[in-house]
Symmetry: C2
DNA sequence: CCGCTTAGGTGATTAGATGACTTGATATGT
DNA sequence: ACATATCAAGTCATCTAATCACCTAAGCGG
């Protein structure tokens, strides 16, 4: 992928590289605007379609963002290590169980670390927001519940592991949307999230880890039942 | 990323989707050949550059592979859940340590599971190959050492976790190539790999996990020293 | 001061033609 | 008969030039 050179010599490859140089040498950060396609194609002495192929590649991996009529911007994922596969639409059963097992291995230790880091404040406001959605608004509640897991992972302090968890959640969520299998019991999720939160703000890593594990095992049970 | 629709209505988006449908409805597997660009552009009633933008996006995420003069083929990564970011060139210190910590969390349990699964045979042949590279041939040896970690992860039986480990290794390796910091002691790596292997073929999960953890802590120490 | 209009800038797509590469079939030589 | 060299058809890669669609901020009018 990044350096597996079996096929080599395309101009588009070189352009991709030069674009990345341009972004990094220029010290641009996510959200910054880049030169227009016309200027870029002139600067690199290539035609519009060729340049755009390179841009689309960068866009597909989150390195840039192209906004019609507005411009090209540095993407949020440019510094990430791992990415979710954006092409996943449906997951077959075994893969979904593997995904859950992966979460069961990774997330409980992260919850424990979050408890050690005393970073419960942001999680609290998140669950407050969730409480507002408890009556109706299933879609929003599902979104907030996902964000809870993302936030716990981020609070653990390891950016790479947070990316891994985010990738797993993103793929799982996109699969749920595709199939409209929103069978999870989001109220129960909320309750269990609340318990995890308490353990984190109390600075109790062992409970936080155990509660997270129990929570994910519950989720897995639900998934196994409907297979 | 996959469904974060802030910007929407581009023809190229729709084409990407139709291409994925074409691949999946057609039951194509990685390596299979797809119709030519000419036929695809006619079938979808779009011009060459537009189609190619969609193809480049799919290529960037490993869903397809375009070979000059030959054709378009289904990519190996089309069914993956997580991907390595192909745009990473250099990693800053903190991120590299996070990456190692992630490996320390994930890989030891995988080594333990591999021991339970009694799948040491392939690992043995791998390390036999490594032994041939012990005199000289640093590049090949580094490659085989990477493959050892990948194989252990795969032998654990969880495809998603194997993808995560693969992604972490891929990014780490591409960074090493970029900076030419091949300071790791690959002979010592080989010795430690051998010890892990023995534990796995002996079906001793606890030793396998502990040895893997000790090994990765050694690697982390080396990285910390040169920072 | 606020809302609407508008013009300039920007990305998205079109159209057809040409160059570069791969591959399997053909031809050639031994 | 077999190995090698040649070649032609198919395929991806790039170019050229123009038009369409969209966003945004400046300017206008209320």
């Amino acid at each position: 992928m990044s350096h597996s050179e079996v096929t080599r010599p395309t101009l588009s490859d070189a352009l991709t590289e030069r674009m990345l140089d341009l972004i990094r040498q220029g010290g641009h950060r996510p959200g910054d605007r880049l030169p227009s396609t016309r200027e870029l194609s002139q600067r690199f002495a290539v035609t519009t379609p060729t340049l755009r192929e390179a841009l689309r590649r960068l866009e597909a991996t989150g390195a840039i963002e192209m906004r019609h009529g507005s411009g090209i911007y540095v993407g949020a994922a440019i510094e990430r290590v791992v990415l979710p596969n954006p092409n996943v639409r449906q997951i077959h059963g075994e893969q979904l169980l593997d995904l859950l097992d992966a979460r069961i291995l990774i997330e409980p230790p992260l919850a424990a670390r979050a408890a050690l880091n005393k970073r419960g404040a942001e999680l609290r406001t998140l669950l407050d927001r969730a409480a507002q959605y408890l009556q109706g608004r299933d879609t929003e509640l599902a979104e907030v519940n996902l964000d809870f897991h993302r936030s716990v992972a981020r609070a653990a302090g390891n950016g790479v592991l947070a990316e891994v968890v985010d990738s797993l959640l993103t793929v799982h969520a996109s699969e749920q949307r595709e199939i409209l299998r929103l069978f999870d019991d989001r109220r129960r999720d909320y309750e269990e999230h609340l318990a995890i939160l308490e353990a984190i703000v109390d600075g109790d890593p062992q409970s936080a880890g155990e509660l997270m594990k129990a929570h994910l095992l519950d989720v897995k049970t639900v998934i196994e039942q409907r297979m």
